[in-house]
């Protein structure tokens, strides 16, 4: 990334840090600063609007259900490209914001190879080498970059169809749809991983923080880099505390009269 872009990103982070606050409680780490959260949700809003308006035009089976939500077919058609442009606009800044941690590395290849054990929850914790983002997140990010570019090019060709030939429009339409399907698949997985599958993750995009436990479980290398502590140390300490607590609970249940205030 060029120095200007990096500089711009730094300044934007600084400006937004003054606009909003991130409260970090004890046992928590800062995951996403205000600027990142602002970008993420701007991208998300315009992505969802683009997806819904686009799907209305894409699919004859849901056209009559979805188009009225945006004021009918013609209005849906008029709004869709603008939603798309705003999605690309905000994602451009998101790209600058994240391109460094999203850089593909050898460890990500190893992550992708072991995706089976990740999906089936066989591995309860991520491998030691997983940093700020894991291989799956990086794949999704680069898929959005690719789709975002394809959306923009093919979208403009279809928007200004009076300036290009009919075959270009006919091909653009398929590429635009394929990019949308790629995005849809990624989007479903992204929401699922961020909410139901990994408790504690959604908080990182709302409050900006995560618990330390979450950090060493899902992003061990990032945990080490931020706290300077090894994942194993934190994990062992937490495990000891947990065991002690369980023993105490068991003891107090065996001898209820000797119960100490917790």
């Amino acid at each position: 990334m060029s120095a200007t872009a990096k500089d711009f990103d730094e300044r934007a982070r600084g400006k937004f840090a003054k606009l909003g606050t991130t409260r970090i409680h004890r046992g928590e780490l800062l995951r996403h600063p205000v600027y990142t959260r602002f970008l993420h949700w701007s991208v998300a809003i315009f992505f969802i609007l683009s997806l819904v308006t686009g799907f209305a035009i894409y699919s004859p089976w849901i056209f009559r259900w979805v188009a009225p939500l945006f004021g009918g077919g013609p209005r849906t058609r008029v709004l869709h490209p603008w939603f798309g442009l705003l999605f690309d606009f905000f994602f451009f800044f998101q790209f600058l914001n994240w391109v460094t941690p999203m850089t593909w590395t050898k460890s990500d290849r190893r992550w992708v190879k072991k995706i089976r054990s990740y999906v089936t929850n066989e591995e309860t914790m991520e491998p030691e080498e997983v940093g700020f983002f894991n291989g799956g997140q990086k794949l999704y990010f680069w898929a959005i970059v690719l789709s975002g570019v394809l959306f923009l090019i093919t979208g403009l060709l279809m928007w200004f169809d009076n300036l290009v030939g009919r075959w270009i429009v006919a091909v653009s339409y398929v590429i635009h749809d394929l990019a949308a399907l790629l995005m849809l698949a990624g989007f479903i997985i992204h929401i699922y991983e961020g909410t139901a599958h990994q408790p504690g993750t959604f908080q990182s995009m709302i409050d900006g923080t995560v618990t330390e436990k979450w950090a060493w479980t899902h992003h061990p290398a990032w945990y080490r880099a931020t706290t300077g502590r090894d994942r194993r140390e934190g994990y062992e300490r937490e495990k000891r505390r947990q065991d002690e607590r369980e023993r105490a609970i068991a003891r107090s249940e065996r001898e209820p009269d000797k119960r100490e205030p917790l």
């Binding site: 077919g73 009919r166 749809d177 849809l184 060493w216 994990y235 947990q242």
Partner: protein
């Protein structure tokens, strides 16, 4: 509309001889016949079209020909194209009345994503329903003849209707009515194909146009507007594609991959839902493993949060 055959007389009491008209079948397919060899370029059809459709006159662009304007427009469905050609060292004008071809397999209809914006009647007329049009312009790219035109103010697309309003009342299209030379005819598809064949034969045998023929392209299953051309081997000279085709993406992608895409979305949502049910969440570690056996209180205690 009721079937006109319903009240066709089948039997007549005490009637000698056969029942008149028994077994008569009406041919539903209509067709416009255009003989370019007898067109004189008077533009009466253009005026009739503009008048019948109650279109305002529009400004035109002069481009060194006798053509009214370079292409058909959203409020100018019918345009005579003045192509210049050479025959025996002399100028020959190829006067072709350009309008919607009313394809049997309409590319505009295939490309359109809006429910009910383009319809094709059983008689073969392809008609745009502007109230359902969303103005995406896909039909423009689906059309091999560059006919649908976008109206920037209303954001809708318009084209020749083959005067479906007149045809519905048993009248011929306005352009046909206005033509003074009889180079335009309107009738059933089979009649028009037959007349066109005869005229082409006449041109070949009597007028020295050895390559005269009928333009009714099979690549789009024929059209409901057919031309008699002096030279069927080179329709490009008249501005007609020799092999008009609809981009395959509008056929295969739309009707095969679109439902597949929708199902992918639904199955994807189902897949993550059942993944959650079957494999459970990925919790921050250490999370005490839940005992499968043992009293309920212990399990609940194990779940209790640490301060």
């Amino acid at each position: 509309m009721s079937n006109p055959r319903t009240f066709q007389i089948q039997e007549i009491s005490a009637h000698p001889g056969p029942v008149p008209g028994q077994g008569t079948r009406r041919e539903e397919q209509v067709c416009k016949y255009i003989d370019v060899s007898t067109c004189i370029g008077c533009k009466a059809c253009e005026v009739a079209c503009v008048e019948w459709n109650d279109h305002p006159f529009r400004e035109t662009t002069f481009n060194d020909t006798y053509q009214t304007m370079p292409t058909t427009e959203w409020n100018y469905y019918n345009l005579i194209k003045f192509a210049e050609d050479e025959r025996d060292g002399n100028l020959m004008w190829l006067l072709r009345k350009d309008q919607c071809m009313h394809c049997e397999d309409p590319g505009c209809l295939r490309a359109c994503p809006a429910d009910g914006a383009i319809i094709k009647y059983e008689n073969g007329i392809v008609d745009f329903q502007q109230e359902n049009c969303i103005g995406c312009g896909y039909c423009i790219s689906g059309c091999p003849f560059d006919i649908p035109k976008f109206h920037p103010k209303t954001k809708k697309v318009y084209k020749c209707t083959l005067c479906s309003d007149r045809v519905g009342q048993g009248l011929e299209p306005a352009c046909i009515k206005a033509c003074p030379t009889g180079c335009l005819k309107f009738g059933t598809k089979s009649d028009m194909v037959q007349i066109a064949g005869l005229r082409a034969k006449q041109l070949r045998e009597e007028s020295g146009f050895a390559d005269a023929g009928v333009y009714d392209p099979p690549s789009i299953s024929g059209t409901h507007v057919i031309y008699v051309l002096h030279d069927i081997k080179r329709p490009e000279r008249y501005g007609l594609p020799s092999n008009p085709i609809i981009p395959p993406s509008y056929t295969y992608w739309k009707w095969l991959a679109k439902p597949v895409g929708l199902w992918m979305g639904l199955l994807g949502i189902g897949a993550v839902f059942f993944h959650r049910i079957l494999y459970g969440p990925k919790l921050p570690q250490p999370e005490p493993p839940i005992e499968k056996t043992g009293p309920r209180e212990e399990i609940e205690a194990g779940r209790r949060e640490t301060p």
